[in-house]
């Protein structure tokens, strides 16, 4: 019942299902795409919390091929060069550093409300003009957010401009590249729905990042609509290894609808990420859990850095490596998986909404994992290593 307090729905939605009992209503609104979930308190501090950032980054699973994939931009040219292996390694390092910048997550902050701040009222000025005056201070070297933009109303009131006018005026005098003064038509509901039906999630989110600031209501509406659609279509892989995966996971964890994402992670054998998602859920909803799990997982599974994945040595003499490559997992991975299994299972038993589904997925994964383990030990024995 306590979940209901932090959910707000559109009025028509609430009136639609007012005769259903409260528990079903909660479940329904949590899983429905129509409900527009808002943040009941400022999510900014939680989002920028270093622990949360670390979890989100780890869940993103950066792959350079996906970060540097071909995009629909004017210049997609490729330059070919001859290089020595040292130069190549240096280039890879540079590319990995650039990738870190490219997948910086757009922040989630609370919606900024308009506040009317009047500077002066002068009734003697009433009707001095038919239209209001919008005055912008175009002094050089001032930040767009700090710029003074004022409105003199026709009744003589001088006040700070509301956010909508501020945004337009800033875009007129100091254009933000890629941003349009009028709202692009793709963000109108009918066109947006068509984009969603074509699963163009990254395109919508990228453009929303350019067009809106993170504190705008439209930004929240559009991103939540996309996240909900992804949750329904279960195409989480579309956002994996992009900068939007973290905010999406954050959104799900905050609103306690992580079941589908967790199921996807279990199915894809990303158990560590699953455990991280559950930890994120606990952290955002103020539930106590054993924090030592992070250290345990970290010591067992080295965070797969983007450089290492590229510069993987082709062949090695080490038998351990060879067995690991054959099976895909090492002894440490198996123990890490066991820890994650336990952690996720307690979550599934106590908090999950789709218990049966998740339990079955866990069971299936456990069986394949056991088989792999057997194979691993068998191979080790055959090679005479203990």
């Amino acid at each position: 019942m306590s979940f209901g307090s932090n959910l707000r729905m559109f009025a028509n939605k609430a009136s639609l299902c007012c005769n259903v009992n409260k528990v079903t209503l909660e479940l329904f609104s949590r899983c429905s795409t129509v409900a527009f979930l808002q943040y009941d308190k400022d999510p900014g501090p939680s989002f920028s919390n270093p622990d949360v950032q670390k979890l989100l980054k780890s869940m993103t699973r950066v792959q350079l091929e996906k970060v540097y994939k071909k995009r629909s931009v004017s210049d997609n040219t490729v330059e070919y060069k001859f290089m020595t292996s040292e130069q190549l390694e240096k280039q890879f390092r540079k590319a990995a550093e650039r990738a870190e910048k490219l997948i910086q997550m757009p922040p989630i902050v609370k919606v900024k409300e308009d506040s009317q701040k009047v500077i002066s009222r002068d009734p003697a000025l009433t009707n001095f003009s038919n239209t209001k005056f919008v005055i912008a201070d175009i002094t050089y070297g001032v930040n767009s957010s700090d710029r003074k933009i004022l409105v003199r109303q026709t009744d003589g009131t001088l006040e700070y401009a509301p956010l909508s006018i501020r945004k337009r005026i800033n875009q007129i005098y100091f254009p933000h590249p890629g941003r349009k003064i009028r709202l692009p038509r793709m963000f109108e509901p009918e066109h947006l729905n068509r984009c969603l039906a074509n699963f163009q999630y990254e395109f919508i989110l990228d453009r929303a990042c350019v067009q809106f600031d993170p504190y705008e209501k439209e930004y929240h509406e559009i991103t939540t609509k996309v996240y909900n659609h992804i949750n329904e279509s279960k195409r989480f892989d579309d956002l994996r290894s992009t900068r939007h995966f973290g905010p999406m996971a954050f959104y799900f964890a905050w609103h306690q609808i992580i079941d589908d994402l967790l199921y996807d992670m279990i199915k894809q054998d990303y158990l560590k990420n699953g455990a991280e998602l559950v930890a994120l859920y606990y952290q955002l909803n103020g539930i106590d859990y054993d924090k030592s799990i992070h250290e345990k997982l970290e010591t067992l599974v080295q965070p797969q850095s983007t450089i290492q994945s590229v510069l993987k040595p082709k062949a090695s003499d080490d038998m351990h490596e060879e067995i690991k490559n054959a099976i895909g997992k090492s002894a440490e991975d198996f123990t890490a998986d066991d820890i994650s299994f336990e952690f996720i299972e307690t979550f599934v038993k106590t908090k999950a909404l789709k218990k049966v589904q998740l339990e079955l997925a866990l069971q299936a994964l456990r069986e394949t994992n056991d088989e792999k383990k057997k194979l691993y030990h068998g191979l080790k024995k055959a090679h005479g290593i203990s």
Binding site: I119, N127, T131, V134
Partner: protein, 145 residues
Amino acid sequence: MSIPLALASGTGRFYKHSAKIIRFARHGCTNRPFFHIVVMERRKAQHQPVIEQLGTYDPFPNEHEEHLVAFNFERIRYWLGNGAHLSTPVAELLGIAGLLPIHPRTYMTAWRNRRAAEEAAAKASESGADANKAPESKEGGSGTS
């Protein structure tokens, strides 16, 4: 008439102690004025090279019913501090923007507009009363203050 557009930092040459003025320079085209707010030597014509551009003013309201005015307040304060003069329209705009006290001419425009509105309203209600022969003054309240 074509005016070459120079940088906002200006290309005009000027004497240190000559009289400067902050004023409009008409740009735009026929039947569509657009003003740059510039500082230049007082004796020069408006299309001579300016010392510096300090802002813009669009006298036609845009689609949202707003007059757009932009001022570089930092430089305006600098030039005012250096003793630059102000043309009346610019002084009016600066009054509306709240940097200077409201210019008397703005007050004059305001009460003239109000008086004209009142008179128009009175005339309308009179003619309406005449036409209907029934005094139903529904728009009598507008324009009063």
